[in-house]
């Protein structure tokens, strides 16, 4: 099948076999290696991308199912090489160690904040379920997202 979709503003139109997952397409054909292959079964959150603005696990979507959509990966964030404010908070608070979960954490957290599902700490922790991090113990990640949420709340 011919697949047409937009990845981080770049339009792709190319043949793809139905059994290729969106994750594999993004990494191998679209050069989006900021999307990480973790578990491959929808559990770890490392492959989180926004598909038409909605967070999905790219490993659990077939590329052909993304036909006509707009995909944003973490590389779409920030301007002119600068970090997005949430990324800045994560860096400053030591919430990035090996960094493998970070692209997913960033996109998942942004969705949680946007939907108002990061209002208090228990809700925020619940919203981050399914982003597995083996380094930080999560505390610093939650701190960083809270700081970003408060900063956004103060400016909006």
């Amino acid at each position: 099948m011919t697949l047409e979709l937009v990845v981080n503003g770049r339009r792709f139109r190319e043949p793809v076999e139905p059994h290729v997952t969106l994750l594999r397409f993004l990494r191998e054909r679209a050069g989006a290696i900021d999307v990480k292959y973790g578990c491959g079964e929808g559990v770890c959150g490392a492959c989180t991308v926004l598909m038409d603005g909605v967070a999905v696990n790219a490993c659990s979507v077939l590329a052909v199912q993304a036909e006509g959509t707009t995909i944003e990966t973490v590389a779409a964030l920030g301007e002119n090489g600068s970090l997005h404010p949430l990324q800045q908070e994560l860096v400053e608070r030591g919430a990035v160690q090996c960094g493998f979960c970070t692209p997913g954490v960033v996109l998942g957290s942004l969705e949680a904040v946007r939907l108002g599902l990061a209002g208090d700490r228990p809700t925020l922790r619940r919203s981050l379920a399914g982003h597995l991090c083996r380094c930080t113990g999560y505390g610093k990640i939650v701190d960083a997202v809270e700081a970003y949420r408060d900063r956004e709340g103060a400016t909006s």
Partner: protein
Amino acid sequence: MIPRPFDYERPGSVEEAVSLLAAASGREAKLIAGGQSLVPMLSLGLARPDLLVDISRLELDGIQAVDGRIRVGATTCHRTLELDPGVRSLLPLAAEAAWHVGNPRVRNRGTFGGSLAHADPAAELPVVALAHGGEVVARGVDGERRIALGEFFLGYLETALAPDEVLVAAELERLPEGSGVGFHEEAQRADDFALACAAAVVKPDGGARVVVGGVGDRPLRFDGAPDELAAVVEAEVDPEEEAFVSAAFRRRLAVVCARRALARARQDAAA
């Protein structure tokens, strides 16, 4: 792992989907919507279909009240059940339970109809559907067929759907005015499969119902007095012994889930 190759069709209507399934004779054809169970199963080699028929774009989503029932379209995603304010008033039990399904990304894509048709005995939404009761609406080559929810789940990943039928909606019984509902789940990790879960309904006439999931090959429904149901669950469920979860522990969890769901339902009814 990389899934084994298969053919893929994206029909423009339910009729077309049914025709594709019916024409598959001999080849294994499967429907895909959100794919949140199926795509991981493909990647793990647990499902090896010859053909996937994608119904995710057929606009079968939406929730509406019809004649004392609530019709939930097949491709209504879990996130809608979880977050839509309308659902919270129409189907509070589904809203409560949807929150326990997978993680937010799974809920963004996973569908209500997919969860029913997949019939994982540990899944939350089959438990919710059975707690309401009502019918599954399926379309096949001979037109529409209605299957009572009580007769829909036949066993592990097995339902009363024929191979050429498409589940288009479920029509759930509306609970009597003044009913209370509750849901409780125990799992090893926050977003993991349920070791056991229970949905409870306490009705204003004093009757109650509890449905437990994860402790048999399908969700199990029990009706009776609210005080007695937890004991009924304890006597009736017969979970299998597994490597890390003994049968006795799982039975115990089922009783705990039933009791807590019933307690919540009572509180909800009183509120």
